[in-house]
Amino acid sequence: MPPSLPFIRLVHRNLRKYRFKIGLSITIAILVLSLISQYIAPYPREGLGYVPVGEENRRLLHPSPQHLFGTDTLGRDLFSRVIMASRSAIIQAFSVVFLSLIIGLIVGVLAAYFKGLVELVLNYLTELFMAIPSIVIALFFRLTLEAGFHVVIISLVTTWWAWYARITYVYAKGVVELDYVVLAKLSGLSSAKIIMRHVVGVIIQPILVQAISDLGSALLEASGINFMGLGLPPGYPDWGVILYEGISEMGIMAFTRTPWLVFYPGLFILLTTLGFTLLADPLREDLDPRLRRRWKLWF
């Protein structure tokens, strides 16, 4: 695929940057964790949300060698729950960003490439969906559908794609006017070919970088929806859900008496988001000449 090549070069160029290395390490660590957590979790069944039977005295234990992060209100091992929730985080962040990116790219490029009515309608749709808070969509789904991944993912994608459509449109608009695209059109190349090779191929890099840094925001927003209890069902291994159970079932005093219930899942959200941000920031600086220029207070 042609667009990936310059992107790989871009990544390669930034490999030696200190921030990029940290971001990459964190991201890889979380990815690996999401794959192997169910094998390394000390209590994998509890990690999935099953409540241990006949062990009532295990509720709300402080962190200890047996239970590294302590246990939750139902006596489940928090460490197992938290590390197994990395999978849910990865699934939500990546699918939200990936789906939004695909839809946004298609809509944005089409709007820029085909002028007239197509442009008008697609831009109207973009503005329409940009103007709806994702929590509203989540509410609608919550009213009609069962809890689950689809609620979180669809409600985020419904508003997120519009942002990608917008930035794609802005970039693509600049490109489709360029001579070589006009020449390609005149030379009778098919629209699909021109769009893929000469439009998408050119604008994809900054949009991909934006997508990487958005992985973090997607995770934060998804966690917020799950924390509100609008997304995944109770007991599901997800950091937002675990936090919700930690705070709501214990009431406000949860984090004064049992801080570990709140601390660890939040810490993992923080680390994962940080990883994505650190990964994307150096790439963004590399691509944006305005951020690259050396400036200082020189007078």
Binding site: W295, W298, F299
Partner: protein, 324 residues
């Protein structure tokens, strides 16, 4: 005679983003501008005129690097790599920038521009600065109505004249004008140049006029320097250089512009402008010179021309070295 500007072997370069190489825009220039001179700096695009002018105005960007020395009224402003323009900017040297469209803040009215400049240089209050502004605007042929305008409400020519007026308002002793007429109509161009010339004659303001328009030099300037690839290849009294150009490059420049009172066929300037990355001592014009000789791989010295006062040229051909 007091020297307004004295450059001693000054070189100015720009460091690239990765800090890997330096583009030398000005390379080892020796130059003296006397107080009261109207000094023209001509040369093709990219020859380093703006760079040299901004060094005198004290506004080299942070990624510029310097060598050599620059004195302004005997104040050492650039000493190798250290710069000190405190007290010089605005009060001793003022500046007319090259791009009128971007050189005024879009968020301030013309009056505000005057006010902040005059308050900070001459401690004027609103009232006084308004009066000074009106006077200065009158000089450049604008009426006081523009004071309330924002830059985007003015035409390019008006913006340029506002820039000139602001530069004049603080009564600096040296005015560095970087192509001040590039955005103005031909009819106004002459009057702006005349205005600069008059300031120079009547108020003894030292003028450094950067231009690539040789015709304007003859109106205003008494001295002239021709710059090529960061070096001064010929300098002297304007009349002397225009009447009796020595350097092949100067000759070619003169061949391609019409000059008042001189009848001659016009010829296009051959070759591409030169950009210098490494600082090799060769004659920069060698590649394009119709009369190049083997010796030209070395840099020629700046030699006086005949018995003309202050007329110097940098060419092996004129130093007695013939064919080779």
């Amino acid at each position: 005679m007091v020297l307004a500007v004295r450059a001693g072997g000054i070189s100015i370069g720009y460091i690239d983003e990765e800090e890997e190489y330096i583009v030398w825009a000005v390379r080892g220039v020796d130059l003296a501008i006397e107080e009261g001179d109207a000094f023209c700096l001509v040369g093709e695009s990219g020859s380093g005129k703006t760079t040299f002018a901004s060094a005198i105005a004290g506004i080299l960007p942070p990624h510029a690097v310097t060598r050599g020395k620059l004195y302004i009224f005997d104040r050492l402003a650039i000493d190798e790599s250290t710069w000190n323009f405190n007290g010089l900017r605005g009060r001793v040297v003022s500046y007319i920038p090259q791009n009128p469209g971007t050189s005024l803040s879009p968020f301030l009215t013309v009056e505000d521009h005057f006010y902040y400049v005059l308050r900070d240089t001459l401690r004027y209050d609103r009232e006084k600065s308004r009066k000074a502004a009106m006077e200065a605007l009158l000089k450049v042929g604008l009426d006081r109505g523009v004071l309330e305008d924002y830059p985007h409400e003015l035409s390019g020519g008006m913006q340029q004249r506002v820039l000139i007026a602001i530069a004049l308002a603080s009564n600096a002793k040296i005015i560095v004008a970087d192509e001040p007429t590039s955005a103005i109509d031909a009819n106004l161009r002459a009057s702006v140049l005349q205005l600069l010339g008059r300031l120079n004659r009547e108020y003894r303001v030292t003028l450094l006029l950067v231009t690539h328009d040789l015709a304007s030099t003859s109106i205003v300037c008494n001295r002239l320097a021709v710059m090529l690839a960061g070096k001064i290849v010929e300098t002297g009294r304007t009349i002397s250089v225009l009447r009796n150009p020595q350097h092949p490059y100067t000759k070619m420049l003169l061949d391609c512009v019409p000059l008042l009172g001189v009848k001659k066929p016009l010829k296009p300037l051959p070759g591409e402008p030169i950009q210098v990355v490494e600082d090799k001592a060769i004659c920069p014009f060698r590649e394009r010179c119709p009369r190049a000789i083997d010796k030209c791989v070395e840099e020629p010295p700046l030699k006086p021309v005949g018995d003309e006062e202050n007329h110097y040229v940098k060419c092996w051909r004129l130093t007695g070295v013939e064919s080779g």
